[in-house]
């Protein structure tokens, strides 16, 4: 451990996970998470008020759990980092309010940071410091974004994002269409392994020549979702049994093909040799396989942290906070608000 580095406590509450972690330098001391996912499953999606209530109840137990497991006293903490956006307003408000209270109570600086950038920063806890320039593909139930990272603490450029559904969101919606439990992502992934990804040629959004001028690195999965729905309905109307495994595999192939093709193209254009993939959707096995194959062909070093780092957690926020503190960025004011649609070029507020 680099004992000279500041000890940063990170708090994440942008969606349904209450995450608290401690990071010193690039070392993760502890990562504690409480989730309200089970309460949302019956509704088929995240209910912000249900998540907010759960965050309030989980906040003190999760902080206490993290401190206890790391055998750290709050007085040892040097800085507080918290997700200030993007995400759900109610949940974000719980985390930022708690972080401000810690900053006042401990008389330590507060850093409001960007959730999506945190999904890239967390990889430094696993694979070490980033080289000078990396590409980051952040894919989850709420985000699908391509970021050019020249400095994770100060210089992030958004090259593209989804124009409609996030990748994980499209999986959840197609899962519902196929009658799978919520969230659909893991179920589709499991079914897809038994199916033929070339069985059905579903459309690849924003890959036509006419889209390249304005949307070369943007994504769109809404049309794909509708195409799957049409195909399934036509199949049902004709009285045939829906080949669920083939539909799942072919749908996932369409999503992953576009994500990886655009990302590799962006790496080539910007002369980037390292790609980081983060966010909960990076758990998808077809994405991991296709990214590994295409990166190998293109001579790009691929870094995907283990799944536990890819879901929403405090570690990603503490990791970004640690980078920001070490870069000497000015702390946030106590009057910061939350920004549900925070620009991805904003690393700190």
């Amino acid at each position: 451990m680099a004992s000279g580095d500041p000890l940063v406590l990170g708090i994440e509450t942008s969606c349904d996970e209450t995450g608290v972690a401690l990071v010193r330098g690039d070392e993760l001391l502890v990562d504690a998470t409480a989730s309200s996912m089970d309460e949302h499953a019956r509704y088929g999606g995240i209910i912000p008020e249900v998540a907010s209530r759960a965050h309030l109840e989980a906040m003190i137990p999760t902080i206490s759990k993290a401190l206890g497991e790391a055998d750290v006293d709050l007085s040892e903490v040097d800085a507080i980092a918290v997700t200030a956006g993007p995400g759900l307003v109610g949940p974000l408000t719980i985390g930022t309010s708690a972080a401000k209270a810690l900053a006042i109570g401990l008389n330590k600086p507060l850093y409001g940071v960007n959730h999506v950038v945190g999904h890239a920063a967390v990889d430094q806890l696993v694979d070490g410091p980033f080289p000078d320039r990396v590409m980051a593909l952040v894919v989850s139930g709420g985000h699908s974004s391509l970021l050019l990272v020249d400095d994770i603490a100060t210089d992030v450029t958004e090259l593209g994002s989804t124009l409609d559904d996030a990748a994980g969101e499209a999986f959840d919606k197609v899962g519902r269409l196929l009658g799978l439990p919520y969230p659909g992502g893991p179920h589709i992934d499991r079914l897809a392994r038994e199916g033929d990804p070339t069985a059905i040629r579903f459309p690849r959004g924003l890959t036509a020549a006419k889209d390249q001028a304005k949307h070369a690195y943007d994504f769109s999965f809404s049309g794909l979702k509708t195409a799957v729905a049409r195909w399934v309905e036509a199949c049902q109307d004709s009285g045939r049994e829906v080949p669920v495994a083939d539909v799942a595999a072919s749908f996932a192939e369409a999503v992953v093909d576009v994500l990886t093709a655009k990302t590799i193209a962006a790496c080539r254009l910007h002369d980037v040799e390292t790609l980081v993939i983060g966010g909960g959707f990076s758990a998808n096995s077809q994405l991991r396989e296709m990214a590994a194959k295409r990166c190998a062909e293109a001579g790009i070093d691929l870094r995907i942290p283990p799944i536990r780092y890819c879901t929403d957690n405090g570690a990603m926020i503490a990791a970004l906070g640690s980078a920001v503190v070490r870069a000497g960025v000015a702390p946030s004011n106590l009057d910061i608000g939350v920004d549900s649609s925070m620009s991805l070029t904003t690393v700190t507020v």
Partner: protein
């Protein structure tokens, strides 16, 4: 040695009160949508104004509502987390209780008088509770009230028995919720309208010293607005050929 008191059930109100009940510093902002932005600087402000350090705090008090959810949670998560950081207890007091105690002082109520407190619950409803005055001042000089009915949430026109005259004494109507519905509720002249963080702190000290349990659980009184998902309609409308089928 002082307690910090926070109420975000209506506006944002913060007070520092000495252990003997003396007010040291207080701030409030009549702001209903930006509690999270306002609160922390106000806490830092009262500490600085009173010349106190966080180490001088003996407890953090939070108003538990009932109140609109998001603002209420800002106060409670702040009270709980600040208490954890400083290493002192977090004490909860219903915000309506503070208004009832304020009414005893502001309206010079006597024992057996009763107080109907009504605050704004939005959606054309009020949060309400009714109290009986036990004492104009306990040993600490702080009025003592006991709940008679509520807290609950209702349309003003449906308050019914909550507005009935008391067996002895008189009934006063206080709180911002009463001022919003003058056709149904007649707010008493000179009545307190918003919870005062200093009154909240004094009630907390009185109850703490009496050995009462003071949970910081929020009084939501309403379930989250959620609906079980219904089946999505088809993307392609069913054609005539399948009408009469399962469409």
């Amino acid at each position: 040695m002082a307690v910090l008191s926070i109420d975000t059930s209506a506006a944002v109100a913060v007070a520092l009160v000495a252990e003997d009940g003396t007010l040291l510093a207080a701030r409030s902002v009549d702001e209903r949508r930006r509690h999270a932005e306002q609160l922390a600087p106000m806490i830092a402000g009262v500490l600085a104004e009173a010349g106190l350090d966080r180490g001088d705090l003996t407890a953090v008090v939070g108003g538990t509502g009932p109140a609109p959810f998001t603002g209420l949670r800002v106060g409670l998560v702040t009270a709980r987390t600040l208490a954890l950081a400083v290493g002192v207890p977090a004490l909860g007091v219903p915000s309506l209780d503070a208004l009832a105690v304020q009414a005893v002082t502001d309206l010079a109520l006597a024992p057996d008088d009763e107080v109907l407190v009504a605050t704004d619950a939005r959606r054309k409803e009020v949060y309400w509770a009714r109290y009986r005055v036990v004492s104009q001042g306990g040993i600490d000089g702080v009025p003592v009230v006991e709940p008679v009915a509520g807290p609950d949430v209702a349309r003003p026109a449906d308050l019914g028995d909550a507005l009935a005259p008391p067996a002895a004494g008189r009934l006063v109507v206080v709180g911002e919720g009463a001022t919003l519905y003058p056709d149904v509720l007649t707010v008493t002249d000179g009545a307190p309208v918003q919870p005062d963080a200093a009154a909240l702190a004094r009630v907390a000290l009185q109850r703490r010293d009496a050995g009462l349990d003071l949970p910081t659980e929020p009084l939501y009184l309403r379930r989250p607005d959620v609906q079980e998902p219904v089946a999505k309609p088809r993307v392609v409308p069913a054609t005539g050929a399948v009408v009469g089928g399962d469409a």
